[in-house]
Structures are given as structure tokens and as C-alpha cells.
């Protein structure tokens, strides 16, 4: 089925998110079933003067590798992947899951081994991304599997996703530009702050952010998008936090996650469900005990939890933290094979203090910063 929004989405990705130009070498990749959008992106890239290649990653091949591969195979980096992060200009990934739980029963230790082996690749592409040599975007795509996770029909989920991407507006690029101005105001306010304290349900936690940069995520690296994030000072995190939404990672999840931090490290990790998995991930390596990212979700066109991280971490009125690797460009220094975002809803009674002053309540900034 042709959805006119595919063509509109492709134009926004090519013209705004990664700004494809003459001679750019562009890899268009879909994880799962998104051929209609891949074709739209392929045509749009050609019209913009780029050299596109469109590829579909096979879920079942990845699953076979994780289940049946030997250690050398698990740790092997394919030449295409290496080329992409060393030489590519643009990488567009479409996240179109066919079954979000396909890797649920894979041995986490084997998954961890693969993640660990790919850490240098991750670092390299984030480095080249931070220096502007490499533009990439992860783009959501509605599938039955993600609609099912959200507890709705595919048609309903399409509307949720495309509304979050401002594709329901006449000029989505103008809408993203205006929204970007708002994120800019929040970001410049936060850059004057030394310490953030979050208070909420079973939550009282402090993070030092002095001298760190806040990235205004306005649809360039994620699509849809809408957050302002940084990498907190590595040893600064103190206190406890209870995450409202499940912590998901490649088909596995932990519900009711509570973390207690001392000196920047997790010292206690409990979950109502999935505790073994939580501890496995927290214990992956040295850096996985520390917070690599702290962020405010700012997209008010996303109002409900859908079990789809790309959307959930941007829900207006939430914050999220990632255990593990920090993102170059934020000033964060934490290294890890893990980068695991977990979301906490502050819309019902949550408060944020900046250097002791209440600046945010019930999911919104008070000081006019936004």
C-alpha cells in the first residue's frame, strides 16, 4: 500500500534530518519490513544528488548468529559496517520491527559479547558524527509488531507515529525548525546549571552537569525526536530513582526498575520483574554502572507510552537516563558496550531543581525557558 506520508517522511529525512547533498554516499538500511519507505528514500536521495544503497537487514540471520555463532563469528565486524562508520557520509536506519520479542530468549551473555565487540565501531561512528563527518538518523516506521506493543491497531499506531513526527502538519520542516528554537531555549538555560535534582515517586536523585553540553535533539539523529540531553559528570550521581516505564533492550525488559547510586555508580539495582536481566546489563562492563546520558523528553505530540523507545524517551514531561556509553559532543566521558535508556514520567507530581531552585513541575518547565 502506498501511504502518501511515506513520501513526505522521506523528503523530511533527506532534506532536513541528514541534509543529503551532491555526491553523498548514503546507506539506507531497514531493520525489518520497510521497503515502501526505503524506495521513497532511495528516490529522494537520487533527486538530492546522492549515491544511495538500500539494504534490508535480516532479523533471522541476526538471530541465527546470536544463537548458533561461535565466539569469533559473534565478534566479527562485517566489512559493510566497518566501511559505513569509517567512510560513509550518511546512514539512515529505519526501525521497522517484525517481532519486537524475537531476541527475548537469546543468551544475554552472548548478546553482551557481541555488543562489547562492536563498542569500537559505536565509538567511531559517534566520534565522526560529533565532528560532523558522518550524518545518521534512526527513523521509526509503523509495523504490526510495534502497534501490538502499543496496544493498538496498526492504523492507530501510524497516526501516533506520524503525529509525533509532525507529518500531520502542512510543513513538517517548518514545524521542526520552530520546535528546534524551543529546544534551544531550554538547552541554553540548562547550560548555566551545575546540579540537577529530580524528585518524584520513590525518586530523589542528583546529577552534576557543570561544564557539560546539552544537545538539542530536533529531528536530526532520531526521527521522530524531541529531547534535550547531556552526559552528567561521571562520579556525580547520588540517590535513588524509580523508572515508571519498563526498561527495554532488544526484546527483553525489566519492569519497576529502581536504581541507587553512590559516587556515580549503581550500588543497588532491583526490578519487580526481570531483575536477572537488569543485573546482567548493569554488570556488562565498568561503564555500564554509570549514567552516560541524562535527558528531558520534550515532544508534546507524544503523550502516551507505546513500548517503543524511540517515541517513549521523547514523551513531553518525562526524563530518561542511559546506563553506559555517553554521547560525544555532550562532554560525557563514560565508555561502555551498553547504552540503555530508561524513562521516568514526571507529569504527575515530579519536580526538578536546578542548583536548588524549582524549575520544572508536573512535566513542564516553570521559568519560561521553554
Amino acid at each position: 500500500m502506498l501511504d502518501a506520508r511515506h513520501a513526505k517522511l522521506a523528503e523530511v529525512i533527506v532534506g532536513y534530518s541528514v541534509e543529503i547533498g551532491e555526491g553523498d554516499r548514503v546507506l539506507l538500511e531497514s531493520v525489518g519490513q520497510a521497503s515502501p519507505l526505503l524506495r521513497e528514500l532511495y528516490g529522494a536521495t537520487l533527486r538530492a544528488g546522492g549515491h544511495p544503497e538500500a539494504l534490508i537487514a535480516l532479523d533471522e540471520a541476526e538471530e541465527a548468529l546470536l544463537r548458533e555463532g561461535n565466539d569469533a563469528q559473534l565478534e566479527w565486524i562485517a566489512p559493510d559496517l566497518r566501511w559505513k562508520v569509517e567512510e560513509g557520509d550518511v546512514w539512515v536506519v529505519i526501525d521497522a520491527p517484525v517481532n519486537t520479542k524475537r531476541l527475548t530468549n537469546v543468551d544475554p551473555a552472548r548478546m553482551g559479547r557481541r555488543l562489547k565487540a562492536r563498542e569500537p565501531i559505536q565509538n567511531r561512528y559517534l566520534e565522526r558524527s560529533a565532528s560532523g563527518e558522518f550524518r545518521w538518523v534512526i527513523c521509526g516506521y509503523p509495523t504490526q509488531a510495534s502497534a501490538q506493543d502499543a496496544g493498538m491497531s496498526l492504523r492507530q499506531f501510524e497516526d501516533v507515529l506520524y503525529r509525533a513526527a509532525f507529518l500531520d502538519q502542512d510543513d513538517p520542516v517548518a514545524a521542526w525548525t520552530t520546535f528546534g528554537d524551543r529546544l534551544e531555549r531550554v538547552g541554553s538555560f540548562l547550560e548555566g546549571v551545575r546540579e540537577i535534582r529530580i524528585v518524584g515517586d520513590e525518586t530523589d536523585i542528583k546529577l552534576g552537569v557543570e561544564g557539560r553540553q546539552w544537545i538539542r535533539a530536533k529531528g536530526l539523529r532520531n526521527f521522530p525526536d524531541g529531547e534535550v540531553f547531556t552526559g552528567p559528570e561521571e562520579t556525580s550521581v547520588e540517590g535513588t530513582i524509580k523508572f515508571t516505564f519498563p526498561a527495554m533492550m532488544r526484546g527483553r525488559q525489566a519492569d519497576g526498575v529502581r536504581l541507587r547510586f553512590e559516587g556515580g555508580e549503581v550500588v543497588e539495582a532491583t526490578a519487580d520483574r526481570g531483575q536477572d536481566f537488569l543485573r546482567e546489563m548493569v554488570g556488562l562492563d565498568d561503564g555500564s554502572k554509570r549514567v552516560g546520558e541524562f535527558a528531558f523528553g520534550m515532544n508534546d505530540a507524544i503523550t502516551e507510552y507505546t513500548g517503543n523507545l524511540l517515541l517513549d524517551e521523547k514523551i513531553g514531561g518525562t526524563i530518561h537516563m542511559a546506563l553506559g556509553r555517553s554521547v560525544p559532543g555532550t562532554g560525557g566521558l563514560n565508555k561502555s558496550g551498553l547504552h540503555w535508556d530508561i524513562v521516568c514520567d514526571l507529569r504527575d507530581g515530579g519536580e526538578v531543581y536546578a542548583d536548588g531552585e524549582l524549575v520544572y513541575r508536573d512535566g513542564a518547565f516553570l521559568n519560561g525557558a521553554s
Binding site: R25, S30, S35, L38, R39, Y42, G43, L46, R47, G49, H51, E53, A54, L55, I56, A57, L58, E60, A61, A64, L65, E68, G69, N70, A72, Q73, W76, A78, P79, D80, W83, E87
Partner: protein, 375 residues
């Protein structure tokens, strides 16, 4: 549910055609509909300790490129392709698409430009295949489009494909193809003693000189299915007439009932009951296009019908085919052309072939087992 025939085919290609080994880097190319075979190949490669990865594309990209790309974009070879050509140890191309006629109405000049970019990549691949540095095999994963071209249901077509590959349930494909390889190798050795072939059949009496040329067995290493022995004839030696009862397909376009007359190696007269203009255009591709680059015996008797796909048709047991255009370096050819167009001559009912005057083939098969195999 996994189709055991697809698992058999994957094992055959990984184990026999490519002989994949531990640590080898192996790429699997194909369109989206071929995913089940790509996954089966991926798993077969893992079992052999190789490092497989896939390159699966959505269908319809060539059409988009023809519509939207500049000439410069059409001529661009992606670095990933160059790297693959230079570095891979093993490679599988899964042919097959969801509409075999999607490009029939494309602008011929732009399509030519696109294809010539493609052939530049393929030529580099063949240099490394010929040098023994790269194992490569092309095969086809059945689709409705190919079943439709073959005038069958998809279920019947799948049976046909797996029959031709000897990958039905309960088959022992590797043992089968090892046997085929021995027979074809013996046949090729025997043909190397021949100076002149004469093909006699319906509206056909053609003489070809093959003296000094190498005959090569196609035994399932580079194509699956396979089953032919072929060489490149001496460029000036072809004379007489040949008639092709099957439609002759090139790049999705058909020419029917082609008749060619040769003198001193060159086509001097060509006619067809339909598509004659296209036939003449192909003959005018370049100076090598009127000369034969290949003559071959089709020897896969599991392929018993015409399906409009050259992977199968050129191997139909009991046929011969010749190709207009470029020949094979390994066979000793001197003919160069951008064209290589296989035309199939059905000899199953009335055909006879004489080697230096002696009857060696009648009604679709050799009259004797190859001498070397008998010995």
C-alpha cells in the same frame, strides 16, 4: 516453517559449490523475496565457521534509478561493491525478482548505461573467480514472477527448481553433483579431441570449428542448477544455418523463431517471426556481436521444459545453445563484445550432432558414455 528443500539447496551451495571454510568472508546478495534462502545460506555458512553477511535489497531500485538518477549517478559504482569485488572469499547471488518485466519499458539508452556499470563490477568479480581467489555461485529463489514466466503455479515451479538442483526432500545433492562433475569433466576431455562439430536439426545445419579450444564442465560450482559443457568456437569457423524453436529472451524482451545464417564465422542473415528489429539491434551492438562466443551442450535432464529463464533454459537436457557475442577466456576465445546472448536450439526430437563426421549425439543425448568415464 522451514522448507527442507531450501535447507538442502543452502547446504549444497555452501558445502559443494563454494566449499566454504572457517574464517572465510562470505556475502549473500538478493532481493527481499529471496530472504528464506539467504537465511538458510547464512546458517549453513555459520556451521562451516565462515563469516557470512547479507546484502538484501528491496525490489524496484533499478527502476527508481532509471527514473531519478543523473548519468553520473547511473555510472557510480558504490565503494562497498568495489571492496566486495576485491576482498570477499565467497559470494552468492540470489537472482530472481518479483516482476521480470519491470524494466521492459525503460529508456533503452539509460538502461544500457546502467547495465554497463553493472558489468564493470561483474568483470572485476570474474577476474578474481578465474584466478581462484573468489568462490562464487549464482542461483534463483522461486517467485510468482518466475513461475508465471514458466507458465506454472508457484508450487509446481518450486518442485521444478528443486528437481533441477537435486534438492528435493530425501535427495543427496552433494553426491549427485559430484557424480555430475565426473561425467561432465570426462565429456569435456573427450570433446577436446574434436576439430569440427556439425549440428543437424529442424531448419538447422551448422558447422563450427572447435579445434584447439578448451571445453569446460559446468558442474554446479558457479550456477545452481547447472549441467552443461561449453567452449568458445573458432571465430572464423562457423558456417551454415541454425534455427531456435524456443523464444530467445534478452533483458526481458523476446524474439521468436530466430533463424541465423553464418559465413566465415559471421552472421550474414538473420530473421525472426517477432522481435526482428530487436534481433537486428542486438546484432549491431558491436563488431563481436555477430560472432559466436559460445557453443554448449545442455545436459541437465531434470530440466525438461522452457521457462524463459536462461539459468535453467540453457541447461535443458537434450538442447544445444550458442551465444552471440563475447566468449570465455578460459576456453581460448578471441571474440570480444558487450553482448553475450544465449540462444537455445532444441535437438530433443530430431537433432543429430557429428564430431569430425562421426555421429555423437542423437535425439537429445550423446550416443555413448564419455570414453574417459568408461575407462
Amino acid at each position: 516453517m522451514r522448507d527442507p528443500r531450501v535447507e538442502n539447496l543452502a547446504e549444497l551451495i555452501a558445502g559443494y559449490s563454494l566449499d566454504l571454510r572457517e574464517g572465510q568472508v562470505y556475502r549473500i546478495d538478493g532481493e527481499e523475496h529471496s530472504a528464506p534462502l539467504a537465511v538458510a545460506l547464512y546458517r549453513a555458512a555459520l556451521r562451516r565457521g565462515a563469516h557470512p553477511y547479507t546484502r538484501i535489497s528491496p525490489s524496484g531500485l533499478d527502476e527508481l534509478a532509471l527514473e531519478h538518477a543523473s548519468d553520473e549517478q547511473l555510472e557510480h559504482i558504490p565503494e562497498l561493491e568495489l571492496m566486495a569485488s576485491e576482498q570477499l572469499d565467497a559470494w552468492t547471488s540470489l537472482w530472481g525478482t518479483v516482476n521480470t518485466r519491470a524494466l521492459t519499458r525503460a529508456d533503452p539508452e539509460r538502461r544500457r548505461r546502467q547495465l554497463s556499470t553493472h558489468y564493470r563490477m561483474v568483470n572485476r568479480r570474474w577476474e578474481r573467480i578465474s584466478a581462484g581467489e573468489l568462490a562464487w555461485c549464482g542461483t534463483l529463489y522461486p517467485s510468482q514472477a518466475h513461475a508465471q514466466d514458466a507458465e506454472m503455479s508457484l508450487a509446481d515451479y518450486e518442485d521444478f527448481v528443486h528437481g533441477a538442483c537435486h534438492t528435493r526432500e530425501g535427495d543427496d545433492p552433494i553426491a549427485h553433483w559430484q557424480g555430475v562433475s565426473e561425467t561432465l569433466t570426462a565429456r569435456a576431455q573427450e570433446l577436446e579431441g574434436v576439430r569440427e562439430l556439425r549440428i543437424v536439426g529442424p531448419k538447422t545445419d551448422l558447422r563450427l570449428i572447435v579445434e584447439g579450444r578448451r571445453w569446460l564442465p559446468s558442474d554446479g560450482k558457479h550456477n545452481m542448477p547447472d549441467g552443461e559443457v561449453f567452449t568458445s568456437p573458432v571465430e572464423t569457423g562457423t558456417s551454415g544455418e541454425i534455427y531456435f524453436a524456443f523464444p530467445s529472451v534478452f533483458q526481458g524482451q523476446e524474439v521468436e523463431n530466430v533463424r541465423l545464417r553464418f559465413e566465415d564465422g559471421h552472421v550474414v542473415h538473420a530473421e525472426a517471426t517477432s522481435g526482428e528489429e530487436y534481433l537486428r539491434a542486438l546484432l549491431d551492438t558491436d563488431s563481436g556481436a555477430r560472432v559466436l562466443g559460445e557453443v554448449a551442450f545442455g545436459l541437465n535432464y531434470e530440466i525438461d521444459r522452457f521457462t524463459r529463464d536462461i539459468l535453467f533454459d540453457e541447461k535443458i537436457g537434450g538442447t544445444m545453445h550458442v551465444a552471440l557475442g563475447g566468449g570465455f577466456d578460459e576456453a581460448g576465445t578471441e571474440n570480444k563484445s558487450d553482448l553475450h546472448w544465449d540462444l537455445i536450439c532444441d535437438l530433443r526430437q530430431e537433432g543429430e550432432v557429428y564430431a569430425d563426421g562421426e555421429l555423437v549425439w542423437k535425439a537429445g543425448s550423446f550416443v555413448a558414455e564419455p570414453a574417459v568415464a568408461r575407462a
